[in-house]
Symmetry: C2
Subunit: 160 residues, 2 copies
């Protein structure tokens, strides 16, 4: 599996990954009716680097990396990850996370923060903790889960 | 003191309040070299309502109110407050905070969150706690304070 920067021509494959995650609306705080252009503009935004994981010419996952805050908070990175539905359970999110931590160090970030990890997303939370993240905050009922209703969101953090 | 929506014509007075806070760079994670247009575009952004506190025709403080997240997080408000340097210690931040909590309720928000309160900003923290906010997270060393160096930032939260 190759992890490389996203490039022109990847848009359709990226949207095929983003769309089901956004429509499900149970893990990301993005508008559930977000359109393709709006979603790609967000995921490929000028304030971030976007990477894709590719195997046999197919894009199986993606992440973005950016500064979490400007000014006095610009040394802390933020990242978001998504895996193609048909490629789950193959360690892609883990490979993307490891890659993002290396890339963040390379860019001089000294920590990484996830601002809003939905507490019901237990597989992801276990995975981030295996990659060294710790829970540093819990936002009570900050997420309205489409089936579970008001749900806590966690703030995860690790130094690099 | 009147608290009203910011309006065309308030820009110079707003910049006079924003500039020293941004330049000091010890409380907000905004670029310390941010220019006037960029700062006003941020503070008066289309995603937020901006209010000013006025007394004897002078603007003494300002705040913005917005949804902290889109999608499943859009029921939680976020706000930012600034007081004119010459008007500090007169209860203006407290009046703005009370007004913002009322306005957030009126708009249907059910909670409010401050994402990044620099731990050395103890006066503000005491004030937000008097207004019902609790510390729900602590981001270790997430802020590079211009004189104190790496400093924790707090996440404050309250239901409405």
């Amino acid at each position: 599996m190759l992890i490389r920067r996203a490039a022109p021509g990847d848009e359709a494959a990226l949207w095929a990954i983003l769309a089901p995650v956004i429509r499900a609306g149970d893990t990301y705080v993005l508008p559930r009716d977000m359109g393709e252009i709006e979603a790609l503009t967000y995921w490929l935004g000028q304030d971030r680097e976007t990477f894709v994981a590719e195997a046999d010419g197919r894009i199986l996952g993606t992440y973005y990396l950016r500064a979490n805050q400007p000014g006095g908070g610009a040394h802390v990175a933020n990242a978001g990850y998504m895996t193609a539905p048909e490629a789950r359970g193959r360690g892609i999110a883990s490979a993307l996370c490891a890659h993002s931590l290396d890339r963040a160090r390379e860019r001089g970030f000294t920590a990484m923060q996830f601002n809003f990890v939905v507490a019901t997303n237990t597989g992801a939370i276990r995975l981030w903790k295996r990659h060294g993240f710790e829970e540093v905050g819990r936002l009570p009922g900050a997420f309205i889960h489409p089936t579970e209703g008001p749900t806590d969101a966690l703030v995860l953090f690790r130094t690099l």
